[in-house]
């Protein structure tokens, strides 16, 4: 009884504190910029982390609601919010488009979510330096559109571009589909402004003695909130060429990509699909492994009659049944007489682009590639932004799908691919493609899908698959993330990723945010886990 009274008191106290906080925020940045209604508190309790979809299946739509959501219009307003939240000892959580897939914006300790989408201005375009300065709440298509109007491109085209912001890209070290030519977002950014935990502004830029830019980029809002950034831009390309090649194996295809990269050619697009992903790519007209909702089609090809019969009883049942036997599925897929599809693209001015493609063609064909024309490339191009919207069919069927993007040197590439395959195969259907190539290595993008009848078992399976996949990645000597970031999803593996060097990241946190107010609980493992 006594306990109940205390908790009621705490609840009342909490409500009073929240009301004081909300009023302070409204006074500071305006009533219209502060929301605490139920719709906002539900909407901002999750991002696109697939685990949250499993929570939804068990009717937990609002596991971690924020106290309030604010919509600042400029840096000064962000500064005020951070200072007020600090005075009230509540966390602040940055929020862009909400397209993150690692739980990086989930307010697990409550607090104030800062939605940056009203900070959407292009501040300046510099035609001499070829740079753009923009506020970080700007959505991808808006930034790219304004650059296109001036004859430029940023060259950053993540599959989530329609629903992601510059701030989100910087927070998670995003990569676009054309990163092989233009680089990842950390290669593009040359300076930024951020509000630190104490409300101070930190401005970074080229030429300063210490490279704070590369400290803040990728810190997922745990060190400060980036309010604007200056990025490299490029003249709009005059032409785009694609060419597809078939290779007898993933290994042969990856070897061919390496030869192109180490010959100093820089295609804008490199995508090598493993056999199942190649099959799905050819069936789903371009959207590749993201289109797991269409996974039934290749499975039907694989199993013919049985799946067709199941399918007549409902596609969801067929899918679930197929995913219930992942080991068998993966073995059958391994035995498929399907080659690996490589799509390579070049863009730039007319003269050099054709010439570069010709040079690449010689290398690819001498590495065993069989020319498949430009059709697959243009099909991919048509569906290149569809991938983020097609997974709900699987979740509706009671299954899950998720993706893991790892990064490794060329010498560790095949080992990483094989180790992850072997680790995940007993538990989930698995496919992969290789993209984002560099002279010294490449990223592997794994997609896996699994099924269990009830939500609790599904969540356990989901965790098991991730644990096995990440452990295999670390064993193979690869990095656990290439461009999705860490968030909540991978933070407990950060100790294995960085080893004792994790102390450096903790020191950044302790030095810049000693009271742990900035997006707490993300990126770094809890101190107890660390010990």
């Amino acid at each position: 009884m006594r306990k109940q009274i205390t908790s009621k008191k705490s609840l009342m106290l909490g409500e009073v504190m929240s009301a004081i906080l909300l009023q302070a925020l409204r006074d500071a940045i305006g009533t219209d910029s502060v929301r605490d209604g139920q719709p906002e508190r539900i909407a901002y309790a999750a991002d696109m982390w697939p685990r949250t979809q499993i929570w939804r299946r068990s009717s937990e739509v609002n596991r971690y609601p924020p106290t309030a959501v604010v919509f600042p219009e400029d840096e000064a307003a962000v500064q005020k919010v951070v200072q007020i939240a600090g005075a009230h000892k509540v966390p602040v959580i940055p929020y862009g488009g909400g397209s993150g897939v690692c739980g990086g914006t989930i307010p697990i300790h409550g607090g104030v979510v800062i939605d940056s989408k009203r900070m959407r201005r292009v501040v300046a375009i510099n035609d001499v330096d070829l740079t753009v300065e923009a506020q970080t709440g700007i959505l991808g298509p808006h930034l790219e559109g304004q650059l296109n109007d001036r004859g430029y491109t940023l060259g950053h085209f993540p599959s989530s571009i329609m629903c992601s912001t510059l701030g989100g890209w910087l927070a998670a070290r995003s990569a676009g589909q054309y990163s092989t030519k233009y680089g990842k977002i950390e290669d593009m950014v040359i300076g930024l402004r951020a509000v630190l935990a104490d409300g101070e502004i930190l401005q970074t830029g080229p030429g300063l003695p210490f490279d704070w830019t590369q400290v803040l980029v990728g810190s997922e809002g745990t060190l400060g909130l980036v309010t604007s950034a200056t990025l490299r831009i490029h003249p709009l390309p005059e032409t785009q060429l694609f060419r597809a090649y078939r290779f007898r194996s993933v290994e042969a295809g990856s070897h061919a990509i390496r030869r192109v990269m180490q010959a100093n050619l820089r295609p804008n697009l490199v995508r090598l699909y493993d056999p199942l992903d190649s099959l799905i790519h050819s069936r789903s007209k371009g959207s590749g492994s993201g289109a797991l909702g269409t996974a039934l089609e290749p499975l039907r090809e694989l199993f013919g009659g049985p799946i067709s019969v199941l399918r007549r009883r409902g596609p969801e049942l067929a899918l679930a049944m197929a995913l219930s036997v992942p080991q068998t599925l993966n073995r059958l897929i391994k035995a498929l007489p399907v080659s690996s599809l490589l799509i390579m693209g070049f863009q730039g001015n007319e003269e050099t682009t054709h010439d570069d493609m010709d040079r690449a063609r010689v290398l690819l064909e001498s590495a065993g590639g069989i020319d498949g024309g430009d059709g697959p490339g243009w099909e991919w191009h048509k569906g290149r932004y569809n991938v983020s919207f097609k997974q709900s069919a699987l979740f509706n069927a009671g299954a899950f799908a998720d993706t893991m993007e790892v990064s490794c040197t060329w010498s560790r590439l095949m080992r990483t691919y094989q180790e992850v395959r072997e680790a995940v195969a007993p538990h989930a259907l698995l496919m992969a493609h290789f993209s984002h190539a560099y002279p010294d290595g490449c990223s592997i993008y794994f997609t896996f899908a699994g099924y269990r009848r009830d939500a609790a078992a599904l969540e356990r399976l989901y965790d098991r698959v991730w644990s096995e996949a990440l452990s295999a990645t670390v064993r193979a000597g690869a990095s656990i993330s290439h461009h999705h970031g860490i968030g909540l999803a991978k933070r407990d593996l950060m100790g294995r990723e960085h080893g004792a060097g994790l102390q450096l990241l903790y020191a950044l946190k302790d030095g810049l945010d000693p009271l742990d107010r900035m997006n707490p609980g993300k990126l770094l493992p809890d101190r107890a886990v660390r010990k």
Binding site: N126, E186, P206, P209, L223, S407, S481
Partner: protein, 331 residues
């Protein structure tokens, strides 16, 4: 719960006894220079210093009340990954020795990133050289723990820890080895160079780079009377042709290509506006800019690296090393 008391309760009663126990009799003493023969010895020295509150500086000059750590004997090439184009080398190795070893395997350090070939990698990195070539680093933290940053071409696993080590002169960790990207020695055309008025040279170079001319290296050197030389290492005959055509005008003359070894000083990443200003301004001859890309390049500056003036950096340092075991390089 069990606890390891070996670190927190050392058996030795003085730091000299502890150093003798860890490294051998009279190998290391406060106020003297310790020549580390292995990474393990660096680890033992720093760990002991940390336990006994003794400061450590990296260098070759003895300093009273300080353990000076010389990395000069650490010169080994630990791994040459010719598949990935990566070399892992200890930080006492000189640029010249490294390049010589790479050349034997058909590889080279990308030109223009390192100045004096006699300098060690440790010295070069401390002044900010080689930054874009760094893929991973191995080090010893202030408490003596060994670590290395993840080895991958790109990562999305938080802040880039390499930048905390590259220019901070062993304040956050003693850097004992570095993995660098290396070039495959090109079969491309020989370098070409052109001389002209500084502003014209910069403008034409910028236009070529923005137009997508591929170059393995480009750099500028300012001469006397506002003249400037640009040296291009073109990637192929097509690009060589484009470069030569652009510099055929009356304001330019073809000259002998110079070795792309920049002068000392700190490389400062600069945008075109700053480079154009420097090229046309009154900067004395010897101004070096390079390597260049379509967004500018590195100007060599003699301005010292004022790390001590950065309060944020100092806060981070105090969080990592409250005892201030690591005190950077010898002055």
């Amino acid at each position: 719960m069990s606890q390891d008391y070996t670190l927190s309760q050392p058996k030795a009663t003085t730091i000299q006894e502890a150093l003798d126990e860890a490294l051998g009799p009279q190998r290391a003493s406060v106020g003297q220079v310790f020549e580390a023969n292995s990474v393990d010895e660096v680890h033992l020295l720093v760990q002991t210093a940390h336990l006994y509150d003794a400061p450590v500086r990296v260098g070759t000059t003895p300093i009273a009340d300080v353990l000076t750590l010389s990395l000069s004997p650490l010169t080994a090439i630990r791994e040459l990954d010719s598949v990935s184009g990566l070399v892992t080398v200890e930080s006492g190795c000189t640029i010249a020795s490294l390049n010589s070893a790479l050349n034997n395997d058909g590889l080279r350090l990308s030109p223009g990133y390192f100045s004096d070939p006699k300098r060690t990698l440790s010295e070069a990195l401390s002044s900010g050289e080689g930054g874009p070539l760094i893929v991973s680093m191995g080090g010893i933290l202030p408490d003596g723990m060994q670590f290395h940053t993840p080895l991958a071409p790109r990562r999305a696993t938080g802040s880039n820890p390499d930048v905390m080590l590259a220019t901070t002169q062993h304040r956050f960790a003693v850097v004992v080895w570095i993995t660098l990207r290396v070039d495959f020695t090109p079969t491309s055309p020989a370098p070409v160079a052109f001389k002209g008025r500084g502003k014209d040279i910069v403008t034409t170079t910028r236009e070529l780079l923005i137009a997508g001319v591929h170059a393995l290296s480009v750099h500028l050197l300012k001469g006397s009377r506002g003249q400037m030389t640009v040296t291009w290492e073109a990637q192929n005959d097509r690009d060589l042709q484009r470069i030569s055509t652009a510099f055929q005008g009356p304001g330019f003359t073809t000259v002998d290509a110079i070795d792309p070894i920049p002068p000392g000083g700190r490389p400062k990443r600069s945008l075109w506006t700053e480079i154009i200003r420097a090229a046309g301004g009154t900067a004395k001859s010897g101004l070096w800019v390079g390597p260049l890309d379509m967004h500018g390049g590195w100007i060599r500056t003699t301005t010292p690296n004022p790390l001590d003036d950065d309060p944020h950096l100092e806060r981070v340092r105090m969080a990592l090393d409250p005892q201030q075991t690591l005190q950077g390089e010898c002055p």
